[in-house]
Symmetry: D2
Subunit: 407 residues, 4 copies
């Protein structure tokens, strides 16, 4: 191990298990370490601080290990100045580019610590005078100044308060055996707090919202102002519209709870109907679409971003068929989001997790434990998971949030 | 194919898919068939009748095929008289014994059609003068007269009304994407109908009832008279009692929704406490146990049968540690049951499905689709499955059934 | 019910359960029926024929019901001539357009029965002189002649041979409890038969192929000529390339079987490396990419279509970021496909199922039963499902197909 | 917090996450703590030692917290002498009894440290002169001396070597996305090591072993000496026997891979056949049973313990119908077990996990992630989980262990 660097990390290191994950990372990257100092919090409420010397085989390996450790909030003791290289190809970062985390980040350029705009993971950092911002790989242009290596960068992990935290419920593993009614109340509290602070509530939803019969509950929450932005795919919107136009949803007769095997004909005809109108808004304005979730969003002038996928029929005219364009449209809606609820979709939940800063509270609800697990594995470690029935969950959530919704 | 027999079946043969399953069975048993006559219902509401000649290699194969077909309601056109053999070993049926279905069954003995007491699948039929009853293999005694072969036996499939049927919701496959609120209402209706008809409501439950925080909802339904009998294992009762004594349940702090990894110490101490009292009832009478599901059952003098399993700690003094004795105790409670709800347990659901007549409406609720599927695969074809969160489901069911439970 | 039509259907109506599904459809569309004639196959090997009069409230409902029934192979007794309307908007079908099935289809125009090119479900039928072809909604242009209503159209269901069929293994429900070794052999047989007939084998894969350590097995099958075309997303290709470049795959150290939590840094750097080369082929040609699945496909000049999704990082330069463009690229590869294997991806499996004719044998392998179920629910009823571990399955399949692969 | 105690713990405290779990436990039991000293291992290979003062509201709470912490290997710095009380009821421990862990345990009685026989969790400790042994609650008799409180007790956590450990593969979470072939090799290595050390290999199996077609592979491993003891229920043995007698297994025709819906008649008849013989061994000796897993075990004079459950038909004459008697029979087979493999059964896996000392390597294989998770949640923290297809896994394992088994 020929090269090394002194790093430090502060926080509830032991009781959050973070230190063991840091040491795991070092091993995984074939590095080594010596713990130089460990100031342990004596009382349960104190924070700890560890100073560690990490070493690696060569400088490139070391730089990459340091980037990796930053995803856990580990900073260099003496970070120095950031290095910058110029991009010489569109859509390609310079070699050794700094790969971002979703944590609050500062960069030292010319002796000054600059705060990075819109933290997002797996991006590069572009320096433009005294501004530094994250940029996805596909958007980089020739001539941009891009940070390389791990020097001159500091990240800050959001502080999670023990006990007083509304979202402390998922400190342990994902499980379907949790007292669900308590969780419903905690999600409602999170939304109310965000609204009280003047923030937006972002929903990310899959077609299961419609299939499980939860559309009326969601409409009630749109009406009551608890849905500011919706990220979804073609499926949620189409099934919602199909349900409004024909009273069915890809195989479920909602009034009688009986399943239809396929129902593709309703589905494809609903798509054609909206395409003929030119947009969902036009369909609402022309009186063609008179109910459901998309209608409620249009009526209240709420935002929605629909991004397509390879399995889409149609799609609806509002759907971004280019996924990179769709990602940009999603990023543009993140300003002032103060709470995010993901319901019944793995694809759009992971996509949203990729672009959300770690500072935004995030709850993921799905009947499939794998969805929540996958979200956490991708790095959205702030995600809280609830494994439950989406239909009953949204029904209960509407009961909590909208007094008038109770029967 | 040297031997054959004429059989017939009547019902909504085509629209229920039953005929295709009958023909599948014949193939699976290496038999062959000719359809002699097929009187199709012209109108959608008419029933059909098929007359089929089935053939097999030898008489033993044919008899076994005929028994198999009876599970689908297929009877011999000319059933003749039942054959009877005498058991010559305790706990062993004579060779070629008739293996029962859970359908209403009649047996012709001495020219008379006798109705079988308590239909139950996978049993033998014992003839005692003019009485014929099902008996499990382990209970047969030397000298008993046991029906052999498939002759002289007629079964009747319960008629499922289309449209008007409260439990029509699961005609299609098991799925988590169903409008759950409608299903809650349908289960509530089924229970109310049973009670209105003077019948008992049987619950079968696993510890998930307690873990998901649904105990208060279930207590409300016990108080309101919607739980007449409970079948469960050591786990549900112990976790319920642990929760009452210590406010925890194998790893879940119900008040805060936080998980405890194990909590075995509470668990084992709760068991010791009740064992010291001698029984759950004694613990209630002595003021040791003052809340929870088991307390409510004792208070209202409702019945419960707890049967042990190999993974049990303790167990509670009320638990039948011999599973065959436990099965007998369960059978003894089936009289007048008019509705059965199974919640969050595969083991006890399958056990109960094994002994329930097909005529009793049966709903199985679990977050795991495999539980419902396995129940149906074992032959409880009358089972309706709901894949949902148990905690929210019982919460909603209590809202439906117990007006005072609503907040 | 003011309007009606005589329809007929031929096949193993009873033993395949198809008739009961047809009658279900009629009820679901609020139609009614009278069975006019039912010629039952007397012997087990005979086919049956049913003549049914279906009725609906008005002509529009009737036409839609008739389209629906065609997905089951039901044709009008007297189909008459097809009606045609002209599209007056780009990307929008005329009202009442005929929504296609994935069955072999003929259309009567001017008294002549024309065979439809490339059957695909959920499309429209465009008439161009004596040619009729399927066209997805998004590709329709002003002025095209589009078939409307259900008249003048006949479909043919592929004949599934009982017993002799290699793919008879999944006649019953999706289940993880199947003798898996037999299934491996059957899939191998299906591929060999397709190759022997001069047909192509299409693979559809998700990143689980790489995560489960099956890349070497798949490379062996590419080398041996059993992979002609691959449909996948950015993830499979990126993880395969990341694995070749760095020996890891999104959190799995393949040599030691230990999990890495995230590993995003390897992932994003692999993407940048290939983007810098300009294409996967360029990376192979320049000696940058020297192993793995994508390398093997390039080396053997096999085809692959990568279509993006909203959660993609990068993406790789070869990825179609516009999903509609991607769908077109997939359609262009379907000629001469004689067998399709889908492995570890719900998204791309459903997408491929949407565009494949029903006549192509199709097997879907996933550890998650929901993937297979969802595929069947979407109408790909020819799909055979195997619920098993993808890594071990591909390992065993390579043992079957490639003698040299055995250790 | 009026009472407190000084405790200590030694090991890879940080990189195993154990310290954070200890502090979680203290909070869960409403205790508090001060970390008095923390000697951190400087190099990656060093162990750490923490000295902590824990406090609780009263002595009873403190004693229970100390017992809880012992499950994590935390001992009192000054443990003093053990307290002992006399049981005054059969089957009931004295109040405040010490609840055991599955760790190696010593007890100080009369100034001497005595080593506890057969560590097992959730038991009491009985003192008999200079012998101390674990005893389950149901076996305690009036007059026995039982340890109470947490004083005078020390536990030792098994040392897990990093890197060199064969079973290091599941340090991260349960997942189906693992390179399975590596895992197969590691399990084979574990079995070979146990056999080389003169230890027994214990298998715990469910009926899925038979359903997935893995019986021939398991027979090969019995023949080759890799199965010394089998713990199972009535189902595995019955389906194995049914398969030998009739070539079927509860709905699966193994030769053709086609599913049978139910097949109960084969099942019940197989049970009757063996009951008539009196035992499985008698059936083998009399030439009635000539193949399958149970036959192989009898032939090689290997041990098996079958314990019944409430859902059993029959059961087989060898089945313990009393579960407490069955647990005792299982305990009696644990001597010299050096490796344990659990396959396709949650019930018997948890039951075995309850009675196994923590020192025995334990691998659990199931296609359902919940089985592995539940095992770990119950306290069998030494359990390594593999989420994969049981049939293909056992096939591959037989390939590894039995050269002659390869085709």
């Amino acid at each position: 191990m020929s090269v090394s660097e002194s790093v430090e990390v502060t926080g509830h290191l032991m009781d959050s298990g973070i230190l063991s994950r840091i040491l795991d990372d070092i091993r995984e990257y074939d590095g080594d370490y010596v713990i130089d100092q460990f100031d342990v919090g004596h009382e349960a409420s104190d924070t700890s601080r560890a100073a560690i010397t990490v070493s690696a085989e060569d400088d490139e390996s070391l730089q990459r290990l340091l980037m990796r450790l930053q995803t856990k909030g580990v900073n260099q003791v003496d970070p120095g100045e950031a290095s910058v290289s110029v991009a010489d190809l569109d859509g390609v970062f310079p070699d050794g580019f700094y790969s971002t985390t979703n944590l609050a980040t500062r960069v030292r350029i010319g002796g000054k610590w600059l705060t990075v705009d819109n933290p997002e993971m797996d991006c590069g950092l572009v320096v433009d005078g005294e501004r530094v911002y994250t940029l996805p790989m596909s958007d980089v242009k020739v001539g941009m100044q891009v940070v390389t290596g791990a020097s001159g960068i500091k990240v800050t992990v959001p502080v999670v308060e023990r006990g007083g935290d509304s979202f402390g419920f998922m400190e342990s593993d994902v499980s379907s055996e949790k007292p669900q009614a308590v969780l419903v109340r905690q999600v409602a509290d999170g939304m109310r707090e965000a609204k009280a602070a003047g923030k937006k509530v972002l929903w990310v939803g899959g077609p299961g919202v419609v299939h499980t019969g939860a559309a009326p509950a969601m409409v009630a929450m749109v009406d009551a102002g608890f849905v500011d932005v919706l990220f979804a795919g073609n499926a949620l919107a189409t099934h919602d519209i199909e349900s409004s136009l024909y009273g069915t949803s890809l195989g479920v007769d909602l009034a009688h709870g009986r399943g239809v095997e396929h129902g593709h004909e309703h589905h494809i005809r609903a798509l054609n109907t909206i395409r003929k109108q030119g947009s969902i808004k036009a369909a609402v304005d022309n009186g063609v679409l008179t109910g459901g979730i998309m209608h409620a969003l249009v009526k209240h002038e709420k935002r929605f971003v629909l991004v397509g996928s390879v399995r889409d029929d149609g799609p609806l005219p509002d759907v971004h068929t280019d996924v990179i364009v769709g990602q940009r449209a999603m990023r543009a809606e993140l300003t002032d989001v103060g709470f995010c609820l993901m319901v019944a979709t793995m694809l759009h939940s992971v996509a949203t997790g990729n672009i959300l800063p770690a500072s935004i509270p995030l709850v993921c609800v799905d009947i499939n434990p794998a969805t929540v697990t996958k979200l956490a594995d991708r790095g959205s470690s702030q995600a809280k998971g609830i494994v439950t029935d989406v239909g009953l969950f949204l029904e209960q959530l509407a009961h909590e949030l909208v007094p008038a919704y109770r029967r």
